[in-house]
């Protein structure tokens, strides 16, 4: 087993995080077997009913099973996180590598782009763009992916600047390696550790941002069971049926906690300088 996995295994919170995340992944995969009811079938006679044996977490205003909607919603939640993090990381790593490796004008332009992106609150910019493109699951993923690249770019650029001057990169250059070869085979593997930490910690914040957009009506459209949207449905029935808003929030919080635990653990393992005291 690689050393960092052994070290990670000694971190109790990271283990709890891994257990939470694996549970959510399994829930998403086996949703049809775990959900007690359909996520879209309406039982109008059982509207707003409190938790019972038929509906363990109660029903919403259309008589749909809240638990089943949360279980199926885990698929959308994971998809949000995976797609958003992948787009941001791919864009950020590429631009960060270019900026750090080539320096000069390339670096200046990319770093000004980072400054420009960081001037906008992610949620505000994403809301504005999604409203122009039109609400929907894919638009939310795309937009949050695009606006989240700057952290990766800044981090990778910094790492590249320090790796660029090391002996082995110099040696590769002396041996006549092409720029592409040097970036992909010599620089990238050495900057990937911190990127994994940032990506693990980006996942929960991407999920919260996507859920926030869904909460405001910009995300997955009905009847898709997105956690943020279920929560928004429950807002109008807070007095009569608080369970509609309560439980999807718990699901979001647990997922976020799980990824935060893993991210903190990974950071301690992969970068001992940042280790929490």
């Amino acid at each position: 087993m690689p050393k960092f996995l052994k070290d990670l295994g000694r971190n109790k919170l990271a283990i709890i995080g891994i257990i939470i995340v694996i549970t959510i992944i399994l829930t998403a995969i086996f949703a049809p077997y775990l959900a007690p009811n359909s996520y879209r079938e309406q039982d109008l006679r059982a509207r707003l009913s409190p938790p019972s044996s038929d509906y363990p977490l109660g029903t919403d205003a259309l008589g749909r099973c809240v638990l089943s909607r949360i279980i199926y919603g885990s698929r959308i939640a994971l998809a949000y996180g995976i797609v958003i993090v992948s787009i941001s990381a791919a864009a950020g790593i590429t631009l960060g590598l270019l900026a750090g490796f080539f320096g000069g004008y390339v670096d200046s332009i990319i770093m000004r782009l980072v400054d420009i992106t960081l001037s906008f609150p992610v949620l505000v910019l994403a809301l504005a763009i999604v409203s122009a493109l039109g609400p929907g699951l894919y638009n939310v993923m795309f937009v949050l992916g695009i606006v989240g690249w700057s952290t990766y770019a800044r981090l990778v650029r910094g790492q590249v600047l320090s790796v660029r001057e090391t002996d082995y990169v110099m040696a590769a250059r002396a041996l006549g390696a092409s720029n592409f070869r040097m970036i992909v085979f010599h620089v990238l593997p050495n900057v990937i550790g911190p990127v994994i930490v940032v990506a693990t910690l980006h996942f929960p914040s991407a999920l919260i941002a996507a859920s926030a957009l869904s909460f405001l009506g910009m995300g997955a459209q009905p009847p898709l069971p997105c956690w943020g949207a279920i929560l928004a449905d429950g807002r109008a029935y807070l007095r009569r049926a608080h369970w509609i808003a309560t439980f999807p929030g718990v699901a979001i919080m647990l997922t976020v906690l799980g990824f935060n635990f893993i991210g903190d653990g990974l950071r301690d393992v992969l970068d001992p300088r940042l280790r929490k005291r």
Binding site: S119, V124, G134, M253
Partner: protein
């Protein structure tokens, strides 16, 4: 110091141009004719022609941008499609509410976060340390819209202690400010703790202690000052999140600020309001970052000579 501020100010110009370019482009991202999108499918041809003419939508994009920029510089943000009111007036009406909420939340986050961080560091591994760090972990993990609804349910609906919406009374500020500050509070507490723990191990703290200074003076006068340096940067980095969070918090608690105005204009695709709000928020964030850099240069003189 003045040279530093002037130099830093000039670096803002290209960023500001980029920010206006992005804000301007928002309207043109949508498929189809922006005039028709703004007015809806039922709009008459005359109304659409009028909007096209007012916004110069027939002109080439770069000309449209420079015309728009020219108007923005003179403070003309156009008129809302829905209410027909000048956008700048609407922003002027709403900005104080947003600033009241965000500044209160920031002050609250700093007060609680710094106190919790210091206590955690000074009493490392005590129950106080464990409980404040557990609180911090949950604080960063709770979605703000859920926390808002849960506080509303408990303190507003069930216990009836606090009003659940509106602005005007100090009571009405309590819940929104707590909801908006929770995540920041948690982040600051974690940062102050780790930063203090690092500083406490430095030689000059040992020197201060061996001089016989009281522990209180060592912690508050010597350690805290240096431990605060990363906090200044963090506060600046967190500002955009605070404004993003304000959009959610204002919507939940019907707080009459810019965030709620933005959400209201999204579904109507009231682009002049969307663009105006986004631009003003970005400019506020930029100036706040400038301010943070200046404060940073004051607390850490090494920065100025870089």
């Amino acid at each position: 110091m003045l040279t530093f501020i002037i130099r830093r100010f000039f670096t803002m110009i290209p960023i500001l141009i980029g920010v206006t370019l992005i804000t301007f482009s928002i309207m043109h991202l949508s498929e189809g004719d922006p005039a028709r999108i703004m007015l809806g499918l039922m709009a008459s041809e005359e109304a659409i022609a009028h909007i096209r003419q007012v916004h110069g939508l027939d002109l080439p994009l770069h000309i449209q941008y420079f015309r728009w920029l020219g108007r923005i510089i003179t403070g003309d943000f156009g008129r809302s499609i829905q209410s027909r009111r000048p956008v700048i007036e609407m922003i002027r009406d709403r900005l104080p509410a947003t600033l009241e909420l965000t500044i209160t939340a920031m002050v609250l986050a700093l007060l609680v976060g710094i106190t919790a961080g210091i206590i955690s560091a000074v009493r490392q591994y005590s129950w106080l340390d464990y409980s404040s760090m557990t609180f911090a972990l949950f604080g960063v993990s709770m979605p703000p819209f859920w926390l808002g609804l849960m506080m509303m349910l408990i303190f507003g609906v069930r216990l009836g202690w606090l009003p659940i919406s509106g602005r005007g009374d100090l009571n009405q500020l309590i819940m929104p400010a707590i909801v908006l500050s929770t995540a920041q509070m948690a982040i600051i507490a974690r940062l102050v703790r780790s930063s203090m723990l690092e500083v406490i191990r430095q030689d000059y703290i040992l020197t201060a202690r061996s001089k016989g200074l009281a522990e209180r003076i060592v912690i508050y006068k010597h350690a805290l000052k240096n431990a605060m340096i990363p906090v200044v940067t963090m506060v600046a980095l967190q500002l955009p999140f605070l404004f993003g969070g304000a959009v959610i918090t204002e919507t939940i608690f019907s707080w009459p600020g810019m965030g709620r105005m933005l959400v209201g204009s999204l579904f109507e695709r009231d682009f002049p309001v969307i663009q105006g709000t986004v631009l003003i928020i970005a400019i506020i964030v930029m100036f706040a970052n400038l301010l943070a850099d200046i404060v940073y240069a004051i607390v850490d003189p090494r920065i100025r000579f870089d």
